[in-house]
Amino acid sequence: MGSSHRRWADGGYPIMKRKTQRAVLIGSGMAVLALAVGLAIYALDDSLNFFLSPSQVQAGDNIPSNTFRLGGLVEDGSLVVDGEMNVQFVVTDRVADIKVYYDQQAHGLLPDLFREGQGVIVEGTYGQNLFTASRVLAKHDENYMPPEVADALKEAGEWRGEAPE
């Protein structure tokens, strides 16, 4: 014991016995695991974005109060840009239409591949019959259909053919 006290005094820690070492390793592993799980659960609560189709939004049940994603096609001829760079367009699954508002000055310009008549996913909140988007996602090539959008169109019975691979 005397020598171990000296070790503590000079700032060094004693070398562990094999059993102790295993216990410490497992214990610290558990502690970090607990920390990670705690962080994950805490962070997931705010970051889970549900995906809804226009029909589901129009039906009105189970609309998340926080941010969610809405996906469908950008209705032809629905895009309007005002002088302040605010954008409005309609996202449709051919059954229901949802009006979307997007402020480019606050959230960035519309992506390159945003087109009328093509698939889009918008992220934001819904209230008073208007979807206020904080993000517009239209990625990949001109034939790309986000799988969620394809599913939504299928569910609405509006799916025409497979997207080319």
Binding site: D10, I15, M16, A36, S47, N49, R69, E142
Partner: protein, 671 residues
């Protein structure tokens, strides 16, 4: 129809691919059995088969490349992904720019590493080497048959189309041409660590020599993966035109996870090499790292992550992937559970010691890997239960940053620590310059930059802490200020490569942390409408849109905006962002203009203001991103550090081999 190569080339490639599968089977099963039964004939098959497999896959890949260069559209894969008008570089990079071709490239690199072990592994114990080669071949069998039966790049089409479909201009970029092969060299490089781990479990032995073998492969793989991730991130930054460089996209996470696990493996292998302890953990890490590489490869190309329904659209492929992953991960974990106890436990150490620091590193890297994995796969599991969700970036930031912080704090301290039993007070006393620098940096941020954001302050503190600690540690190693400058310089030259490697890599992390912190915390952004002649101010710079003119590029037409950048009236540079319109397929891209400075990048994007906007008005986005180039410099420094470590003579296998021969001679002399 011009330029179409001889069609028979694709048949040769197809045949070579089939032969490669046969050779891989010969390389895997008989030698594995032979190693168990001590049958030298069977074992002798492994090495030549490994070389032959490389030749076969090399032939297959070359044939596919020739088909691409010659625009042989009778091959479906070429037709789907190439085009006669593509520049040569992108015809070649088109080979691996798609699912089928990339799987073939994967198998090719895998066989390349296998052949390297066969040719240069002369000093490995025979049964061990044979087992490594056959495990490598088993993975090869998995990949080649996946390629042949579900993703064959040599399938033909009749009638032959006149023109190919693939000409996505976003993907025609040098950054993206080299990004996938780099990533793959990284992913597949970890296969060697995996094969060594499985062979070690079969043999029931892990020792310092094993670690010396595994370390260089892991290091090389890690360097490639680091470079690959950095290239991809850089591409997103300048090509996608919204100034972001990391989106926590599943595709990005797929490459980050093996990187995190691989970094942990790199560090735990040091403990095995120096102290012969943490053996079973290191073996487990090798298995995990490679499993994550496999997962990464498959989820990127198969689209599984977007939706489990990707399985439904191509059930054969999906089921194959699932089965292969289950077999590799499950099989190796079962083997680990059964055999890990055979590995002799190594030396003990104090909690505060170099080993302790490396364990700390492993704990947090493993935790970070786990949380990223959870966030990446969560939507898939939710989808299986009928919920469509995405896990957004805030999750990853909220989880990743708190887990990286303790890791980076200790990263600066651990290199000062003695092996086995360190003295924290002594170490902290030596680190005083780092502590003082952190205080000065925080005071500067508070007073000069008037920043009070705790995130920004913490990031700056972490970056400075690591950078100064690296310098202090290096200065201590070369006795700077304690001896003459000449003597210090001589000592610096004589330092082992791994010492430089660690310093560079750790300093690289410091630069990355500072780059991220500064570019996020002090970014200036102006999104607005402008017409020629107008000026906007952007974080101390005045940006004038002088003109907007149309023109024609090689295979697109463009509208080019010209910005003049001034600082306090002084002309600095001219930026020319473009809107490019490609006709075939009809695509519009925005080409960002970036002026990189050490202090930060000036970034400009121009685009159409919209259908009903006033004519003459353009939508523009202007950014000033402070210190962002430090991030790329940091990544580069990490790769350079890895290469320095690789060059360390102690890691050179000749040295280990000579030591082994000497020991054997000594044993014989005493006997």
């Amino acid at each position: 129809m011009a330029g179409r190569g001889p069609r028979v080339i694709a048949e040769i490639g197809h045949f070579a691919l089939i032969m490669a599968l046969v050779v891989a089977v010969v390389q895997s099963v008989p030698p594995l059995w032979g190693a168990w039964q001590r049958n030298t004939t069977m074992m002798g098959l492994a090495a030549p088969a490994a070389c032959l497999q490389l030749v076969m896959l090399g032939t297959a890949f070359l044939c596919l490349m020739i088909a691409y260069i010659g625009s042989d559209f009778s091959v479906i894969n070429v037709m789907m992904n190439s085009h006669t008008q593509k520049p040569l570089l992108y015809k070649i990079s088109g080979v691996w720019g798609n699912h089928e071709g990339s799987i073939l490239l994967w198998a090719l690199i895998l066989s390349f590493f296998g052949a390297a072990v066969a040719l240069f592994g002369r000093n490995l114990p025979t049964t061990f080497k044979v087992r490594v080669l056959s495990v490598q071949a088993l993975i090869g069998v998995g990949f080649i048959s996946f390629s042949l039966f579900t993703s064959n790049p040599f399938l033909r089409i009749n009638p032959v189309p006149l023109e190919g479909l693939g000409l996505n201009p976003l993907l025609q970029d040098p950054g993206l041409a080299f990004h996938p092969p780099m990533l793959y060299l990284g992913y597949v490089g970890f296969s060697i660590a995996f094969s060594f781990a499985i062979a070690a479990l079969l043999e029931g032995r892990v020792d310092a020599i094993w670690a010396r073998w595994v370390r260089p492969w892991t290091l090389a793989a890690w360097c490639f993966l680091t470079a690959g991730i950095a290239l991809g991130s850089w591409w997103a930054y300048y090509e996608l035109g919204w100034g972001g460089w990391w989106f926590w996209d599943p595709v990005e996470n797929a490459s980050l996870m093996p990187w995190l696990a691989g970094t942990a493996l790199l560090h735990s292998a040091i403990v095995v090499e120096r102290r012969e302890t943490l053996k079973s953990w290191t073996v487990l890490l090798a298995i995990i790292t490679f499993s994550l590489s496999l997962l990464g490869t498959f989820i990127v190309r198969s689209g599984v992550l977007n939706s489990v329904h990707a399985f439904a659209s191509d059930p054969a492929r999906g089921i194959y992937i699932l089965a292969f992953l289950t077999l590799v991960v499950g099989g190796s974990l079962i083997l680990f559970a059964a055999r890990a106890s055979a590995l002799k436990p190594g030396g003990v150490f104090a909690a505060v010691s170099r080993e302790g620091g490396l364990v700390w590193n492993n704990l947090f890297l493993a935790a970070a890997t786990g949380t990223v994995l959870f966030g990446t796969l969560f939507p898939m599991f939710a989808d299986a239960f009928g919920y469509k969700v995405t896990v957004a970036a805030p999750y990853f930031n909220a989880v990743f940053i708190p887990l990286m912080t303790p890791l980076i704090i200790v990263m600066a301290i651990a290199p000062f620590m003695a092996w086995k039993r360190g003295n924290i007070m002594q170490v902290l006393r030596r680190m005083w310059p780092a502590g003082v620098s952190v205080v000065v940096a925080i005071v500067l941020c508070l007073t000069w930059l008037e920043t009070t954001s705790p995130m920004a302050l913490m990031g700056v503190a972490l970056g400075v802490w690591v950078l100064v600690a690296v310098l202090v540690e290096l200065a201590g190693r070369v006795d700077l200020f304690r001896t003459s400058v000449g003597a210090s310089a001589r000592r610096a030259v004589g330092l082992p490569g791994s010492a430089w490697g660690m310093s560079f890599a750790h300093a690289g992390i410091g630069l990355v942390v500072l780059g991220i912190t500064a570019s996020v915390s002090w970014e200036r952004e102006v999104i607005t409408m402008m017409q020629p002649g107008e000026t906007r101010s952007l974080g101390g710079y005045e940006m004038t849109l002088t003109s907007v003119t149309p023109g024609n590029g090689p295979n697109y037409s463009y509208i080019r905006g010209v910005f003049e950048v001034r600082e306090e009236g002084q002309f600095i540079t001219q930026l020319t962002p473009e809107i490019r319109t490609f006709t075939d397929p009809p695509t519009q891209t925005t080409e960002a203009a970036i002026y990189p400075l050490v202090t930060g990048d000036i970034y400009a994007v121009i685009s159409n203001a919209g259908p009903n906007a006033k004519p003459g008005l353009w939508a523009v986005r202007l950014y000033h991103k402070p210190l962002i180039s430090w991030m790329w410099a940091g990544a580069l420094l990490m790769v350079v550090g890895g290469m320095f470590s690789l060059a360390d003579r102690r890691l050179r296998l000749g040295v280990a081999a000579r030591a082994q021969r000497r020991r054997r001679r000594e044993q014989e002399a005493t006997a």
